[in-house]
């Protein structure tokens, strides 16, 4: 049975009149890559700061490895953080930055240097130790911040949108590296992001935040395939909802239903679908967005509402798909991909 790295109980945090965190209960397991996903202002960063100890909760408890740390200062917690803006000390060299935590723990100088160099090698920055943070690129600074937080081997590493400032290519590369690094060092990672793709790529489990509350906690597949609320359905992946009357006409039941765009096939209107397990809906193509590898069809349904369908461009080219604009089509998908979401 694996242990619990972080346990949050009825956690609330208010700043004056605004409620940043409105009652969060959460358990993060040992060795897990755990993401906290949500739009800005959803409370995810505040929860991170409450775990690190930069804020004290208005109500509730924070436990780290079974120990109540609610009132403890950051320097009394075995947790290190990678900050969004990296927060490297500008007056120290890269090596001094990385060795800072060791220096505080009074690790002898020679050992400090060896371990700092090793940590820099882990993030592939060997040979940059003597430079100042200002002399590094954004991606390199990000790695230094990572090395600095990892060098003391904390039980828990918190990452506050660490990839936010990087460009797309570097981001994607760092996502894979971070995940590999986490497996290698075996430390629990708590990763805050507003980027659903990033969360899906890297995480063992994801917590989706909305207005200071938890909407859903689950594996990437659970979050994506079985969204628990309409907020999760629309925030993770493309919003594709059938509501009330439209749902009643197409699916035979009311309420709100989510269908992921890539599960929907686009056929000619005349096509016959005689599979009982499939739902179908006819409509007019309002817009065609060619994305290179895929094409996105926005279809206004006769039953009301609009659905997005995503198709691989296996054999179609840009001209072929453009011809669909304004034409009549039939959409079809397997009923098991229809997820009823409570509002």
């Amino acid at each position: 049975m694996e242990g619990i790295a972080v346990r949050l109980q009825a956690l609330r945090k208010t700043f004056g009149e605004t409620t940043a965190v409105a009652g969060v209960d959460l358990e993060i397991r040992d060795g897990e890559f755990f993401s906290m996903l949500g739009p800005s202002g959803s409370g995810k960063t505040t929860v991170l700061r409450l775990i690190a100890g930069f804020e004290t909760p208005t109500e509730g408890r924070v436990e780290l490895a079974g120990q109540d740390v609610t009132g403890l200062a950051p320097f009394e917690r075995d947790v290190h953080t990678v900050f969004q803006d990296y927060a490297l000390f500008p007056h120290m060299t890269v090596e001094q930055n990385v060795a800072y935590a060791l220096k505080i723990r009074k690790v002898p100088k020679a050992e400090r240097l060896v371990r700092a160099r090793k940590a820099l090698a882990e993030v592939r920055l060997d040979g940059h130790g003597r430079r100042r943070p200002a002399q590094l690129s954004g991606g390199q600074r990000q790695r230094v911040a990572l090395a600095r937080a990892l060098v003391g081997r904390p039980r828990l590493l918190l990452l506050d949108e660490p990839l936010g400032a990087l460009d797309l290519k570097l981001r994607e590369q760092m996502q894979l590296e971070l995940k590999a690094l986490q497996r290698e060092v075996g430390i629990t990672f708590v990763f805050v992001t507003h980027d659903q793709e990033e969360a899906l790529t890297m995480s063992d489990r994801i917590a989706v935040f909305h207005q200071g509350r938890l909407e859903q906690v689950g594996t990437p597949a659970e979050i994506y395939e079985r969204p628990a609320t309409s907020f999760v359905a629309s925030f993770v992946g493309t919003s594709n909802l059938l509501r009330d009357d439209a749902a009643r006409r197409v699916l035979g039941t009311g309420g709100t239903h989510s269908i992921r765009p890539e599960k929907i096939r686009v056929l000619k209107e005349a096509a016959i679908v005689d599979e009982p397990e499939h739902a179908t809906a006819t409509g007019t193509v309002a817009e065609v967005v060619y994305l290179g590898d895929t094409t996105r069809f926005l279809v206004d349904l006769d039953a009301g509402g609009r659905l997005t369908a995503l198709q691989q461009n296996l054999e179609t080219s840009a001209e072929d798909v453009a011809a669909y604009r304004g034409t009549r089509v039939r959409l079809t998908w397997h009923r098991r991909h229809t997820v009823h979401v409570p509002d």
């Binding site: 690190a52 200062a73 320097f75 927060a87 007056h91 505080i104 723990r105 003391g152």
Partner: protein
């Protein structure tokens, strides 16, 4: 096209002309009035005075400097002046740091500008008014005596320590302001990061706050040091019999102008040396 537009256009096409029009007046001021008078000071320091007629003899001689460094009184006064300037600087730094820390990081953000204004307000009052106020405070039976009496103590009276105290009061804003600015600009994330990596507040102060504020502290010290070194009025009013370089310059100006010039060269040289020392801390780029 109006004349104005045409002139502006012509100037736009001739950047050199534009620059020279802009800089001629200030450069003349700098060259003639500032550097010129400094040159006169240096040159006249090497002249002498006829001891019978008190006339200035315009002949090259290093007698003045020889006298400066061999006469015990002069040596004493020079060392005392430097000592006073250093003491004032240290006192200013010790008082200014916590004050600036409060105004920059502890006080509510909406109060901060008001507090800074409050610190700067004394600079709007006349120098002499402030010095005479301190004369009243430090006089026998004055405020200082009255306040210290319950503790069985008395005020410092007029003298060297009174002068140091008053100069510290006078130049304190020049030290608070740069430190306040530096502390205000210190990113909160760095303090969080330091605590996050295990540093207690004292450690964060020593390893992060102090090194990052040091250039500004040094910049402030340039003001307090040079202003103290050049002061002679405060000493005259509350220094008792104490004499500093400025007083010697003042008393020599009538009878022995070249000697006064030689004495005047001393603080210039000391301040230049101080600036060179402070440059190593990066203070000059944070002025």
């Amino acid at each position: 096209m109006s004349l104005l537009t045409r002139t502006a256009g012509a100037l736009h096409r001739r950047p050199r002309l534009r620059l020279s029009l802009l800089l001629t007046a200030p450069l003349l001021w700098l060259a003639v009035l500032y550097l010129g008078s400094l040159t006169v000071l240096f040159v006249s320091a090497f002249w002498t005075t006829d001891s019978f007629t008190s006339e200035v003899v315009k002949a090259w001689s290093t007698d003045n400097f020889h006298e400066l460094f061999t006469t015990p009184v002069y040596r004493q006064v020079i060392l005392r002046s430097i000592g006073v300037a250093l003491a004032v600087t240290v006192l200013c730094a010790v008082i200014a740091f916590p004050l600036a820390f409060y105004t920059a990081r502890v006080a509510r953000p909406r109060w901060r500008p008001l507090l800074v204004v409050a610190i700067l307000t004394p600079l709007w009052a006349s120098y002499l008014v402030k010095v005479y106020a301190w004369r009243l405070i430090l006089s026998q039976g004055g405020l200082a005596d009255w306040m210290l009496k319950p503790f069985g103590l008395s005020g410092p009276g007029f003298g060297l320590s009174a002068a140091v105290l008053t100069l510290t009061y006078l130049w304190l804003p020049y030290m608070v302001l740069p430190i306040h600015t530096a502390l205000e600009q210190l990113p909160a994330g760095l303090l969080d990061a330091s605590a996050d990596l295990g540093a207690r507040p004292g450690r964060t102060f020593r390893s992060v706050v102090l090194p990052m504020v040091l250039p500004s502290l040094a910049a402030g010290s340039i003001f307090t040091f040079s202003l103290s070194l050049g002061d002679y009025i405060t000493v005259q009013i509350i220094g008792g019999k104490t004499q500093l370089i400025g007083n010697l310059v003042y008393s020599n100006i009538e009878l022995n102008l070249p000697m006064a010039a030689a004495l005047g060269t001393v603080p210039v040289v000391v301040v230049v040396l101080y600036l060179l020392a402070m440059r190593r801390t990066g203070a000059l780029s944070s002025l």
